[in-house]
C-alpha cells in the first residue's frame, strides 16, 4: 500500500517536473506505437475489408487463423522479427536490430492481425446490409472495399484504438528487438520492466501510472472525435 502511495507521489513529481528522461521515453513510446499503428492500419484494414466481401475456398481457414493470431504473444512476434533482422537473418543488412525501426516493425507484426480480424467482423455486418444495393449499382467486391472502409469509419476507429492499446502496452516484442537501450530504444514498458527488476518499485509504478493516463487520454480523445463526427455524418 505504501508503495502505491509513494508511486502516486512519484508519478505526480515526474509529471510536475517535466522529467526530461521520462518525456523522452514517453515520446519514443508514442512514436513507435503510432508508427506501428499506421503501418498495421494500411495493411490490416483493407485486408479485413477484403476478407469481409471475398468468397473463396479456404476463407474460413484464413478467418480462423487470423482470429488465432490476435492472441500472438508479443514475445513471439518479437522473436520472429529478431530472427528476420539479426545480422545473419534475411533482412540483417537493413541494420535495424536494436533500433526504434525494429520496434515499429515488431509492433506492426503484432497488431496487424488484430486490426484485420476485428475489421473483418465489423465490415462483414456492414457488407450484409450493403451487398444487394452495391451489386445493384454495379459495384463488385473489389469496388466495395473502399466503400466499406469509408462507411465503417466510426466502428473502425474503435478497432484502431484496440490496436493502439495492444501496441503501447506490450513489452515482450520491443525489449527483444529494441534492447532497452537508454536514450535510444527505452520505452515506457521496458523502463517499467527494468525499474521493477532493479527493485525501484515506486518509480516503476509511477511510470505505469503515467502510461495509463496517456492511453486513457488517447482513448478519450478518439471517443470525443468519434461522437462529434458521428453526430455530423450519421
Amino acid at each position: 500500500m505504501q508503495d502505491l502511495g509513494s508511486a502516486f507521489m512519484a508519478a505526480i513529481a515526474l509529471v510536475r517536473d517535466g522529467d526530461a528522461g521520462m518525456l523522452a521515453i514517453l515520446g519514443l513510446s508514442l512514436r513507435v506505437s503510432l508508427a506501428a499503428l499506421g503501418i498495421a492500419a494500411v495493411v490490416g484494414l483493407p485486408l479485413g475489408a477484403l476478407l469481409a466481401v471475398a468468397r473463396f475456398p479456404g476463407r474460413r481457414v484464413v478467418v480462423v487463423s487470423l482470429n488465432a493470431l490476435m492472441g500472438l504473444p508479443p514475445v513471439v512476434a518479437g522473436l520472429l522479427v529478431y530472427l528476420l533482422l539479426s545480422r545473419s537473418g534475411p533482412l540483417g543488412h537493413w541494420g535495424l536490430l536494436f533500433t526504434p525501426g525494429a520496434m515499429v516493425i515488431a509492433q506492426a507484426v503484432l497488431i496487424t492481425p488484430i486490426l484485420a480480424a476485428l475489421s473483418r467482423g465489423v465490415l462483414e455486418a456492414l457488407w450484409e446490409e450493403y451487398a444487394e444495393a452495391l451489386r445493384s449499382f454495379g459495384a463488385g467486391p473489389w469496388r466495395a472495399v473502399p466503400t466499406l472502409l469509408w462507411d465503417g469509419r466510426f466502428a473502425l476507429l474503435t478497432v484502431l484504438l484496440a490496436g493502439f492499446g495492444r501496441a503501447s502496452a506490450e513489452v515482450g516484442a520491443v525489449i527483444l528487438v529494441g534492447g532497452n537501450i537508454e536514450g535510444f530504444t527505452r520505452t515506457m514498458t521496458t523502463a517499467i520492466a527494468l525499474e521493477t527488476s532493479k527493485g525501484d518499485l515506486p518509480l516503476a509504478l509511477a511510470l505505469g501510472l503515467v502510461l495509463m493516463v496517456i492511453v486513457l487520454g488517447v482513448n478519450a480523445l478518439a471517443q470525443v472525435l468519434r461522437d462529434v463526427a458521428l453526430r455530423r455524418a450519421g
Binding site: 450493403y130 444487394e132 451489386r135 445493384s136 449499382f137 459495384a139 466503400t147 462507411d151 466510426f154 450519421g234
Partner: protein
C-alpha cells in the same frame, strides 16, 4: 435494354420452387405491376429481372450483369450525406462530375429533399429515406426501374408522395416494374398487370382488363381478397 424478355425462368431455394417457368416481356410503356399473394415469388422475380439473381432454368435477355435500377422495400442508404448517397451510384456508372451535380440537384428538387442535401441520410424519416432511394435510382436515368414494395412500411401521406414521384419518373419514359400488396395502389399506378400465384404467371393483361374482370379464377379470388397465399 428494353424489351427485357424472360423465357421459362425457374428459381428454387433449398429444393423448394419459388418460380416455375415464368415467361414475360417488359416493353416500354405504362408501369407494370406484379401482383400476387405473399410468397407468390414477386420479390424473387424482380431480383431475377434486375440481375441480382441468376435463373436456374430458362433465360432472361438481354444478358447484362445488371438490368436497369432497383429500389428495395427497406431502402439501403449509405452512411453518408443525402447528396453523397445520390452521387455514389452515378460515380460508379461513370457519369461525368458536372453532370452528376446537375442530376443530383434535379433529383433532390423532384423528391422535395433539396433542403436536406447535407443531412446524414440515415437520420431521415422513413418516407424521406424511400424518396431519397427513388431519387438515387432515378438519377441514373435507367430505362427500367424495379421497385420492390416501395411503400410497404410507409404511412398514407408518405405513400402518396412516393406514388407521385413514381408517376413523374414513369412520365419521363422510364419503364416502372413494381410489386405491391396494396390493390388500391395497383389500381392507381398500373398500366399493365402480371398476376403471379405459387411461382407461375397466371395472368398478364392490361390493368383495365385485369381490374374489370380477371380471366382466371385465382385472379378473381385475389381481387375479392379471398386468395391469401
Amino acid at each position: 435494354m428494353l424489351p427485357i424478355r424472360a423465357e421459362g425462368v425457374s428459381y428454387a431455394v433449398g429444393g423448394a420452387a419459388i418460380l416455375d417457368g415464368v415467361s414475360l416481356t417488359i416493353a416500354p410503356g405504362a408501369p407494370m405491376l406484379i401482383l400476387g399473394p405473399n410468397g407468390a415469388g414477386k420479390s424473387v422475380l424482380l431480383r431475377l429481372l434486375h440481375g441480382l439473381l441468376r435463373p436456374e432454368a430458362g433465360r432472361i435477355t438481354p444478358a447484362a450483369a445488371i438490368r436497369g435500377a432497383m429500389v428495395f422495400q427497406r431502402p439501403v442508404l449509405l452512411r453518408r450525406s443525402v447528396l453523397a448517397n445520390l452521387r455514389y451510384p452515378m460515380a460508379l456508372a461513370g457519369v461525368p462530375r458536372a453532370e452528376r451535380a446537375r442530376r443530383a440537384e434535379a433529383a433532390l428538387a423532384e423528391v422535395g429533399l433539396s433542403t436536406l442535401a447535407s443531412r446524414p441520410a440515415r437520420r431521415l424519416s422513413g418516407g424521406e429515406q424511400q424518396r431519397l432511394a427513388l431519387a438515387r435510382a432515378a438519377a441514373l436515368e435507367p430505362q427500367v426501374l424495379f421497385l420492390d414494395e416501395p411503400c410497404a412500411s410507409l404511412d398514407p401521406a408518405a405513400t402518396r408522395a412516393v406514388e407521385e414521384i413514381i408517376r413523374r419518373i414513369a412520365a419521363r419514359g422510364t419503364k416502372i416494374v413494381m410489386t405491391t400488396h396494396d390493390l388500391g395502389q395497383a389500381r392507381r399506378l398500373a398500366g399493365e398487370v402480371v398476376f403471379l400465384h405459387r411461382g407461375r404467371v397466371v395472368e398478364a393483361a392490361s390493368a383495365e382488363r385485369f381490374f374489370a374482370g380477371p380471366a382466371s379464377a385465382e385472379g378473381a379470388a385475389f381481387l375479392q381478397g379471398e386468395l391469401l397465399w
